[in-house]
């Protein structure tokens, strides 16, 4: 093989290698729940080093893409939820979310569209929070997620598809990091089709 041919082949292989590294890097942060520092709790998952100076390169890159300016876990624990029984959240259905006491100074549950921004709806009903949620006699709560307004605690699904939820727990108890996968977090189920 001539010297010129070797240089051409080496250059092509180097360019392919650079492209491969970039592709694998973006692909590796596509699924945050699959990271080594991630912990699941029912349908929710969280990452133990989000926002922290101890975050590894993949977690830092992932958070920068879908949760820039997230606080370190000591201040706030974030639990996203991307599917219900394996399917993405869709405005074609009605969902019921049931929860009890969530260990935090205050918490909120917010719905996001596929683009990670709030879902447009004429009622501006994007979230529920601990300080204003209507509770049942035993202290539990039920939240309905649907396209049409619903009695009680309600989050509008607008006309969107492929949505996700975020549970934010502010000032959680100090020992929470040891039991992130054992918390009694809300459960969510599809209860019917949209009208």
């Amino acid at each position: 093989m001539s010297g010129t041919a070797k240089i051409v082949i080496s250059s092509i292989i180097i360019l392919i290698s650079i492209a491969l590294g970039i592709y694998v890097a973006f692909n590796s942060i596509a699924l945050g729940s699959h990271m080594s520092s991630s912990v699941t709790s029912g349908s929710w998952w969280t990452n133990t080093v989000v926002g922290s100076v101890h975050a590894d390169a993949r977690t830092r890159a992932y958070v920068a893409k879908i949760g820039l300016l997230a606080l370190a876990p000591e201040e706030t624990t974030y639990y996203p939820l991307y599917d219900v029984d394996g399917e993405p959240i869709s405005s074609d259905f009605v969902y019921e979310l049931r929860g009890n006491q969530i260990p935090a100074r205050w918490w909120s549950i917010t719905l996001y569209g596929e683009d990670h921004f709030l879902v447009p709806n004429k009622e501006n009903r994007y979230s529920v929070k601990s300080t204003q949620i209507e509770r049942e006699v035993g202290g539990g709560f039920v939240v309905y997620l649907s396209r049409e307004p619903h009695k009680g605690n309600w989050i509008s699904l607008g006309n969107a598809q492929n949505m996700s939820l975020s549970l934010r727990m502010y000032n959680p108890p100090p020992d929470i990091r040891q039991r992130l996968d054992k918390l009694d977090l809300p459960t969510i189920h599809k209860i019917g089709k949209a009208l």
């Binding site: 290698s17 970039i22 694998v24 973006f26 590796s28 300016l69 606080l71 909120s108 709030l118 929070k129």
Partner: protein
């Protein structure tokens, strides 16, 4: 044969380097974009921007909380320390700092504060602490630029106007401009 072995080794090294370089670049690039957006609406760096309650029209930073009021300031320590001051409401409040690679290197919340006001000075790690500033009020940033964020929890929707007034007392300015 030697050519192919050395090319293969080179390809592996380049792929791994490219992988880690991309991962390191993503947060820095996202921060750069966010800094540009925030500084543009604020009217520059070391200027605070008090945001209104997030709605679906809000497009500055992904996954905003509609239950909080955010004030953001892109800090730039090129001309020296930057001061952050304001009032603290009787609901959750926090002041947090994010370095140029998006790390949350500092956060303080209302339950850790003794007064209803705050006054912090941000310096670059290694810079001299400004005279007359108590050491517990000095924060050291690992990078020259970054974003400071004030969060106020809207605990009751009917308190929005009152909390908005407290939010607007927050300030961010270069100490060089004060002297």
């Amino acid at each position: 044969m030697r050519f192919w072995v050395s090319t293969f080794v080179l390809a592996v090294v380049v792929s791994i380097t490219s992988f880690y370089a991309t991962l390191a670049y993503i947060p820095i690039n996202e921060m750069r974009k966010a800094e540009k957006r925030i500084a543009t609406v604020a009217g520059g760096r070391n200027v605070i921007r008090h945001g209104t309650r997030a709605t679906s029209k809000f497009r500055s930073v992904v996954r905003p909380s509609p239950d909080q009021l955010y004030s953001a300031c892109v800090y730039d320590l090129s001309d020296g320390p930057v001061r952050f001051s304001g009032s603290i409401p009787d609901t959750y409040w926090s002041l947090s700092m994010f370095s140029h690679n998006s790390d949350n290197f500092f956060v303080v919340n209302d339950s850790q504060m003794e007064d209803q006001t705050y006054d912090y000075v941000l310096i670059k790690k290694g810079q001299r602490t400004p005279e007359g500033v108590p050491v517990e009020r000095v924060i050291a940033s690992p990078s020259k630029t970054g974003i400071a964020l004030v969060r106020i929890f809207i605990d009751k929707d009917d308190r929005l106007e009152e909390l908005d007034r407290v939010q607007r007392l927050g300030n961010c300015s270069s100490l060089a401009n004060e002297n």
